[in-house]
Symmetry: C2
Subunit: 249 residues, 2 copies
């Protein structure tokens, strides 16, 4: 596996920061110095630095030296998308269980979102450190339904299973995050009172080619999971939205 030069330079610089060799607030060497150190062109070094800027580790302004801003980096798309990959990467004990699974006709909203007349609906309960923390209500597009149905009900990582069986890679997603009161089913599954606060994450995911794969509504028990966003000017993937403009309901 050949890794790009700028990726390796970025990894080295990231290590320097994470190890504390470049403490928060310190200035990084200049483009020219780094280019000399790594025997690379300035453009290549700048590409590496752009990675760290996007991760929120360093700040950059024209004319001034680059500054170390933080020591914890934004994690991968995979970790955002897959509960299992996130939990595993952070060393948590976790599991998942399919509670219900059925094919049905898509509602008009789902048909529009997933470009699919038939869908597979799955209800899944996830635990973290042996506590139930997440109810997932996922709707898969028809073309991927068969691959999902053969996954064992207690499979930990659906993302991983789909990649292994079909080579599918989730490449893009849109996520809406808000707070909702627990419904009767939520309350029973998560062991909380009805009406207590849940963190809701709705998302639509597509393949690299832009083909819709799934639409999901996940509800986290309050206090169990927090979303963290780190951003600088120029790298800003988050917006607020009033009311429920998309998703209807």
């Amino acid at each position: 596996m050949m890794v790009a030069r700028y990726e390796r330079i970025a990894a080295e610089l990231r290590d320097d920061i994470l190890r504390g060799e470049q403490p928060v607030g310190s200035t990084l060497p200049t483009d020219a110095e780094l280019a000399a150190r790594y025997s690379a062109a300035r453009g290549t070094v700048r590409q590496a630095l752009a990675v760290l800027v996007a991760e929120g580790l360093i700040g950059s302004r024209q004319g001034a030296r680059r500054i170390v801003l933080g020591t914890s980096r934004s994690q991968s798309f995979a970790e955002l998308h897959s509960f299992a990959q996130w939990a595993k990467a952070n060393g948590y004990r976790f599991s998942g269980q399919v509670l219900r699974q059925q094919r049905r006709r898509a509602t008009s909203a789902e048909a529009a979102r997933l470009a699919s007349p038939e869908v597979l609906e799955v209800l899944r309960l996830r635990t973290l450190e042996d506590e139930p923390v997440l109810v997932e209500r996922t709707v898969y597009a028809g073309w991927i339904a068969a691959a999902v149905e053969v996954i064992p009900p207690d499979c930990d990582s659906i993302t991983q299973a789909l990649f292994d069986s079909t080579g599918l890679v989730f490449a893009y997603g849109e996520h809406l995050i808000d707070a909702v009161p627990a419904g009767a089913q939520d309350a029973r599954l998560l062991g909380v009172r009805r009406g207590s606060p849940l963190l809701r994450q709705r998302r639509v995911t597509t393949t690299q080619e832009g083909r819709p794969v799934e639409s999901s509504e996940d509800r986290y028990r309050a206090g169990s999971v927090t979303f963290s966003i780190r951003n600088s000017i120029g790298a800003n993937p988050l917006v607020r939205q009033a009311g429920d403009l998309r998703f209807g309901a």
Copy 2:
């Protein structure tokens, strides 16, 4: 105000997508074609395309043509940070009112976060479309307190006011998002029942130089505001976090 070439090219391409001239799923022209169209070097065109990839509008894989993924772009960092700028940009009626404001000694956690022994604590209520939707509990570092205190209590945009008076630009922020039950004060101010779900956003903001400016806890009434995150592989600013690792309590 000189705008970079690649920014203008990115803006034109973005317009094509937002106007529907490049519908979702369609392929963009190749680097070479775009370079010819804009009489720019391929590198410049690629820089423009990188902007759109970061915004989640288009997808890109080596060897394959670029594809339009979405039609609504992630908005600016300023809009994420400032309620007023977001509301104004989206044409909403809004207002703000300071309810309480006092200087005090920083708690040890605040002193660590803001690197300041004395702080200014402000309680602010925001309305959207004449409905109370947001309670802001903000703690400003001592060095900026004086500039905040002279802002009129009914000022709509603190961000703007601080920029006008001191030239301060918020450059960096970390945001933690979760769900919490409304406390007694929250319930009274927002007109909801105690214990009903609120969307909580905690953040620490710094200047471009990495100097801490403020630490804030904002609580949104459920249903009033939704956070939206759009991401692709490679551009991923969001992570989940278990429990309350940071911020204590």
